[in-house]
Structures are given as structure tokens and as C-alpha cells.
Assembly symmetry: C2
């Protein structure tokens, strides 16, 4: 396609749109419940790439022009992501004091507030998914399918199970099969669902949903493997969190099983495969391809 913006400009524009929408659709809370809404807002506004909502918009834009139709839905995905970070950082979970260069939610506030802030964000996601602004523009049937897809990806058969397995594996010798299971559930399913939900909202044909689903899984795994690499070779300042925390916690990761060099090579091979998957789609997938390379080569 001609006249495409460079990926970087595209991502920045979408990020701005999403952050404006997060402000616009965030409930205005007065009275006694203010503290928890502020704690959630603190984490939600701490920055981040906004990868999941952007993937949702990208999935939608393969089929429709105005992805602004679904901005509240996309914002809901970021709420789910932020909730998962807040709960993961808790002392009884990964016990991380810093996130995106700032104290974690339970450090800036307290544990009870952080748990409730996460609960509130997870709930807000589904409130935004069914926001009147979305309902009036999207087929309600397509909307229920997209919600179902996301809920499955982040629940007992997805992210929640992955986080449980990750905690149980800490400090123990693990296998590749176990590691694949953890990544597939903890990170990959939600990244895949973010992209696919956009395509579902656009009522994409089910054959193409399948291809996007496969690509989303490949992209999610590349994302996670690079994350594991950055924990070892990344720069603390750029990452906004302490490096080598996986090593300290003896987390099961690709580098812990294969070493740095082999892991990097595996990520590159997976990138090739992901690009091949996209070639099966008769759509302009330029941005998705560029995004895949960007994720492979990112520094944070």
C-alpha cells in the first residue's frame, strides 16, 4: 500500500488515541471510593507501549476504516493488562517493588488498595467492552464473541492459569514443555486475543480469524521470549524495572533453558514463521509485519 506512515509514527498516533480515550472513558469517581480509582489510574497512566489495544485496532483495521469505533473496547484490553501487572507485582506473587520506573501500585498505595485497584480494572474492562459507544457501532453478536474470546484468554484457561503455573515453577528445574505451557497461557493467549478481538469486532471471515489467531500466537511468543532476553541484556533505565529479576527468582525462561545465543536465534526463526503466516492473509499486513520485526528488535 502506498502512503503508509512509518510504523513508529503509526504506533505513536494510536498510542495517543488510546491514552486520550483512557482519560475520556475512565469513570469519574467522587466520594469514599476515590482512593482505589486513583490507585488504578496511577498504574494505568504509568506508560507502557499499549501493545494490546493497538493490536486490537490493527485487527479491526484489516477490515474496516475507522478503528475509532472501537476505542472503548481497546481501552478495556489495556485495563486488563494493567490489572494483571498490579496483581503480579504483589508481595505474595512476584513481589516487585518497581514497575515502569515508578513504585508498584502496592508500594505507592498499599496491598488492599492494589488488590482492589486490579479488581476494579478487570471489571472496568468489561464495562468498556459493552460501552454504549461501542454497542451502537458494532454488531452486538460480534461484540459478545469478542468478549468471550478475551475472557477465555485471561481466565482459568489462560492468563490466570499461566500466572499460577509460573509461580509454582519458580526455583524448580523445569522442562521446555512446561515453559511453553506457561508462556502460552500467561502472555501469548491474551496477545493473540487482543488482535483477534479486533478482527471479530469487524466480523472477519472465520478462515481469516484462524490465520490471525495463529499469527497472534507466534507474535505473543516472540514478545515473551524477547522479554526474557531483555531481563538479562536490557538496560534498567530503558526498561523501567530492575533487570536480572528472572535470574534472581530462578524463573523458568527460554534463556535459562537454552542460553542467550540460541534463544535469540529461536526468536529470529519464529519471526520468519510469523511473517509467513501473515502472507497467507490476502490483506495489507504491512504494519503487522513491521510490528513483528519491531517487537523482535525492541529495547523495552
Amino acid at each position: 500500500m502506498d502512503n503508509l506512515k512509518p510504523l513508529q509514527a503509526y504506533l505513536e498516533e494510536k498510542k495517543r488515541l488510546i491514552e486520550e480515550a483512557l482519560d475520556k472513558y475512565y469513570p469519574k469517581i467522587r466520594g469514599y471510593g476515590k482512593r482505589v480509582a486513583e490507585a488504578a489510574q496511577y498504574s494505568l497512566k504509568a506508560g507502557g507501549k499499549r501493545l494490546r489495544p493497538i493490536l486490537c485496532l490493527m485487527g479491526y483495521e484489516l477490515y474496516r476504516n475507522s478503528s475509532e469505533d472501537i476505542l472503548p473496547f481497546a481501552c478495556g484490553l489495556e485495563c486488563i493488562h494493567t490489572y494483571s501487572l498490579i496483581h503480579d507485582d504483589l508481595p505474595c506473587m512476584d513481589d516487585d517493588d518497581f514497575r515502569r520506573g515508578k513504585p508498584s501500585c502496592h508500594k505507592a498505595f498499599d496491598e488492599a488498595t492494589a488488590i482492589l485497584a486490579g479488581d476494579g480494572l478487570l471489571t472496568l474492562a468489561f464495562e468498556l467492552f459493552t460501552h454504549p459507544e461501542v454497542v451502537k457501532r458494532i454488531s452486538p453478536l460480534a461484540l459478545t464473541k469478542a468478549i468471550h474470546k478475551v475472557a477465555q484468554a485471561v481466565g482459568f484457561r489462560g492468563m490466570v492459569a499461566g500466572q499460577m503455573a509460573d509461580l509454582l515453577a519458580e526455583g524448580k528445574r523445569g522442562t521446555l514443555q512446561q515453559l511453553k505451557w506457561i508462556h502460552a497461557h500467561k502472555t501469548v493467549a491474551f496477545i493473540e486475543a487482543s488482535l483477534v478481538s479486533g478482527a471479530l469486532l469487524a466480523e472477519a471471515p472465520s478462515k481469516e480469524i484462524k490465520i490471525l489467531s495463529k499469527f497472534g500466537q507466534q507474535l505473543g511468543l516472540i514478545f515473551q521470549i524477547v522479554d526474557d532476553l531483555l531481563d538479562i541484556i536490557g538496560d534498567e533505565k530503558t526498561l523501567g524495572k530492575p533487570v536480572k529479576s528472572d535470574l534472581k527468582k530462578k524463573k523458568l525462561t527460554y534463556p535459562s533453558l537454552f542460553g542467550l545465543e540460541k534463544t535469540r536465534k529461536m526468536a529470529e526463526e519464529m519471526t520468519e514463521e510469523a511473517l509467513n503466516t501473515l502472507n497467507k492473509l490476502e490483506k495489507d499486513t504491512t504494519y503487522l509485519k513491521e510490528l513483528t520485526l519491531y517487537i523482535l528488535n525492541r529495547a523495552h
Copy 2:
């Protein structure tokens, strides 16, 4: 209406239907994520009145015959209720070691597992709300409205805010205005939404939704006030949890502000008002009326 079962038999039948559906629709988890799904199941099967899903079925039955259409949706409400109990019981929240006569989830398992079990149940609720069995029987537009209603009631503008305010009020002198705010957000909004969601799923006219909403708020407040009373005068064995825990924690309650006698009288007056609200509805509200009296006079 003739030939109505007594309320007790009606409630038992609905409870059985819901518990069977909870079993049927609960995801079968294998592999590394099993522990968290088992912890959630432990709390979900610990019993309880199943009041919220029953209210949803009752709201639906005012307009439609076969409330079995919406059983997965109703089960989702019970998942939300159970999640809220698991998180409320955590040490950094209300710190309760017993629930329904059994160790609380974090006692039977551990804190991380309990937090994740709650997260998983909250997510499962929305998976069940959009279950294909519901989607094929209910107008998808009505479904998105019901989901939106419930999500609002249990999020930053509802239950989550109420729990935050409840924690912040502990041990401090509170006002009636503050107590009303806490009850309205922590308990009442979700009870109201449970009933109203059923009516929304049945596409009830908005004028009648308003009446049901008002009744739901009155019923919710009666429920909460009786709960506060039972904490003082109830029987530990029947309740399945230690009594006088509100007193020990210096919780702000109706009895703490008004004493036992006056509180009981207020609950009775509210019951009168709730029954009057139902009279405005040109529907057979026999069961809802009987349920209101049952809730006023319950022992657990």
C-alpha cells in the same frame, strides 16, 4: 397466581439448578493451572444461598417462562459473588479465616492462589455471560446491556468502591451518610443488578426496569442490615462464620449507629416500602414479596 410452589421449595429448586449449572459450565482444567481452578471451585462449592443468581432468574421469569435459557449468565453472578468473598477474606482486607463453616480460600490454599482464584472467577463470570448457550437464546443487544449493568455495579462505581470505603471506615467514627454510601456500593448495587439483569435479558420495558431497580435497592439494603444484625444476634453454627466480627473490627454498621432494636424496626419499615414498590408492577410478584419477607426473617 394459583398453584405456586411454596417459596422454600421454589428456592431449593432454583438453587439445585444453579449448582448443577455451575458444575456443568465450570471449565475443566488440566495441567499446570489446576491448582487455581481447584481453589476457586473450593469456594464456589462451599454453599451459600445463591441469592444473586436466583434473583436474576426471578427477574427473567417475570417476563419469560424458561429461565433455564439464562442459567450460564446467572452462574456468572455467583462467580462474581464468590470472587468478592475470597478477596474480602484476605489478610490485608477483612482478614477472615472462616467462611461458610470452612477455612477461607487463602487458608485452605495460600494468598497468591486465593488472589488468582478470585481473579479467575471474576473473569469466568464474563465468559459465562457471553456463553454460546446464552448468546443463541437471548437478544445480543439485551445481553450487552445486562453485562454493562452488572459490570458497573461491581466496579469502581459499585462493589469495589464500597469495599475500599468499608476498609477505610474501619475503626473510625462514621456517619449515617457514610454508612449508606458503603452499603449502597458494597452490597446493594450488585443485588439490584442481579435482579435487573434478568429483566434486561428478558427485554422488559424500561419503565418496569426502573421499578425493579428501586425494589432491588430496597431489597439489597434490607439484606445488608439483616446481615449486620445477624453478626450480633446470629448463631455461629447456622451462619458458618464467627459472629461479632463487625464489633471486633469496629465496622460501621446500622446496629453500631442505631442499636439493635431501632435497626430491626428500620428493616421492617424498609420491607413495607419494598413491598409497596412491587405493587407498582403489573406482574405476579408473589415470589419476590415472599423472598423479601424471607430475607427480613432469615437466620443465616
